[in-house]
């Protein structure tokens, strides 16, 4: 199976007043039509990795890589125009909080239609029908009502479904989900994950699921990459998380309170400088 995405030695560097900050320091992985989780704490570079693939790195930062290829297309050599054509059409991204990532002054329906009409030549009526169908696919019960609502009029779970609908309407082959459920309640979280899971497997998409929650990721993904200080410290199958080798992965798993485990005090991470080396 040829890989959908090839990343080799990806680096993202930010110039600051105090010198260069390397947010991502040589990350390599490849993605097929599977669910890949990227886990790490804040500042580990997981979101910047996703953004670099998407082409959403802030302009002052520098992105370099030996290979950064999507379906054979060299993303770093592609013109802004070509990347724009890929973004939203073949590669889509779901962001953390629908409250901030949806346009607040545009109805949900118009935003979905806008995505579709940017990438495909379809009539207004057809775009509307497809948006309805997509809203139904993300289990919104009353699509015609939600279509005309503005983002502030819907709950977080509903907003996140609308965003998933918006991202999937152009039929992408790869999806990057950056903390898609962190702003949601636990019960709603599972609904949204269920929808995402079904759509990804039905459409045979590749999914990169970025999260700080190691346990959630391991229950959802096929494979997990653990990042620390801009580097990949461990790659493993989600089902083999219990056999993680790296002390950081193990520490991260250990330090979370578990129902039924009576551990006082909780074990804390003892960060070693060599992990970041």
């Amino acid at each position: 199976m040829s890989a959908l995405l090839d990343v080799e030695n990806l680096r993202v560097t930010f110039p600051t007043r105090t010198g260069l900050i390397e947010a991502v320091r040589g990350v390599s992985f490849s993605l097929g039509r599977e669910r890949l989780g990227i886990v790490g704490e804040s500042g580990s570079g997981k979101s910047q990795t996703g953004r670099a693939i998407m082409g959403l790195t802030p302009p002052q930062a520098e992105v370099t890589a030996r290979t950064l290829a999507f379906d054979g297309i060299d993303l770093l050599a592609a013109s802004p125009r070509d990347r724009r054509a890929l973004r939203g059409k073949r590669i889509a991204m779901i962001l953390q909080d629908p409250k901030y990532s949806l346009d607040p002054v545009m109805s949900i329906g118009r935003q979905i239609v806008e995505t579709l009409r940017t990438h495909e030549r379809v009539s207004r009526a057809e775009a509307r029908d497809r948006a309805f169908a997509m809203l139904e696919a993300v289990q919104i019960r009353d699509p015609s009502r939600v279509f005309d609502l503005h983002p502030h009029e819907v709950s977080g779970g509903m907003g996140q479904r609308a965003m998933i609908a918006m991202m999937l309407i152009a039929g992408p082959e790869m999806m990057i989900a950056d903390e898609p459920t962190s702003a949601l309640d636990v019960t709603v979280q599972l609904d949204v994950l269920g929808i995402l899971d079904r759509l990804v497997s039905e459409r045979g998409m590749g999914l990169i699921f970025i999260s700080h929650d190691l346990r959630l990721v391991s229950s959802f993904c096929d494979r997990v990459i653990v990042m620390y200080a801009g580097k990949v410290v461990e790659q493993l199958k989600a089902s083999e998380l219990g056999r993680a080798q790296h002390p950081y992965t193990r520490g991260l798993l250990n330090c979370m309170p578990k129902i039924g485990a009576d551990r006082h005090p909780l074990p804390v991470l003892d960060r070693k400088p060599e992990w970041a080396a």
Binding site: E41, V188, S219, P257, G260, L269
Partner: protein, 249 residues
């Protein structure tokens, strides 16, 4: 033994919205009590109503045997302090840690401020090196430690904790939870803690109340929860959800 906190049929109404619909609760002195529920369930509102930050429409709140009126006096705030969810939003951005910690001392007229600040910083594991820094120079975990130091500096007997670790990374969360447990043990504090995370509540609390739509769904002990002795479907759903994603084939 008197209860530290006794809440009787508390109603909170924002405009016409009933955020709390007659919730009753009793927390014993020295106990750690948890409130769980989804957003909008009223768990934070209950905490804020106790602190005097939400409009109480009816019902009563009794703290250490004293029933509270519509306004909180200074003596109340010496007994009850609160730690908020977002350490980025709850510390003054233009005040140093020293200035932040002096504020409650000045309000309550403590003379030995110097000693207390040094001790409070020491107690939360920050040390005096952090004393003249601003909030933006601290990490999330360090900020939450400052917020805890600020709450502890008046030596309250009751601490209201509103999702104190939900904005923190898992490893930092463990450190802050350990710190909270340690100060509680050392000072024999009473905790009323809000979280959406059942695992955190069972870890930190002996008893808990599950809330939904401004009402109490059920009260149970952490042991009941661990042994799955729950009676309500809603609690069962929360328990299931806390176990992560399960793929339905």
């Amino acid at each position: 033994m008197t209860s530290a906190l006794f809440i009787d049929r508390l109603e909170v109404i924002f405009d016409r919205f009933r955020a709390l619909k007659g919730v009753s609760l009793e927390v014993q002195s020295g106990e750690s009590f948890g409130l769980v529920g989804e957003s909008g369930s009223g768990k934070s509102t209950l905490l804020r109503a106790i602190a005097g930050l939400a409009p109480v429409a009816s019902g009563s709140i009794t703290v250490n045997g004293k029933t509270l009126g519509p306004r909180r006096d200074k003596a109340f705030y010496r007994e009850v302090q609160m730690v908020f969810q977002d350490p980025y939003g709850s510390l003054h951005p233009r005040q140093t840690v020293d200035r932040l910690l002096q504020e409650p001392l000045a309000i309550h007229g403590f003379a030995d401020g110097e000693k207390r600040i040094v001790r409070a910083l020491d107690e939360v594991g920050l040390g005096t090196g952090f004393r003249f820094r601003y909030a933006h120079q601290l990490s999330g975990g360090q900020r939450q430690r400052v917020a805890i130091a600020r709450a502890l500096i008046l030596e309250p007997s009751i601490l209201l904790l509103d999702e104190p670790t939900s904005a923190l990374d898992a490893s930092v969360q463990a450190e802050v939870l350990n710190l909270l447990e340690e100060v509680r043990r050392r000072r024999k504090l009473t905790f009323l803690m809000v979280s959406h995370d059942l695992a955190i509540i069972t870890h930190m609390c002996e008893r808990l109340m599950v809330m939904q739509n401004g009402e109490a769904v059920e009260k149970l002990t952490a042991d009941d929860l661990v042994r799955r002795h729950v009676t309500k479907d809603y609690t069962r759903n929360l328990l299931r959800a806390s176990e992560g994603f399960v793929r339905t084939a």
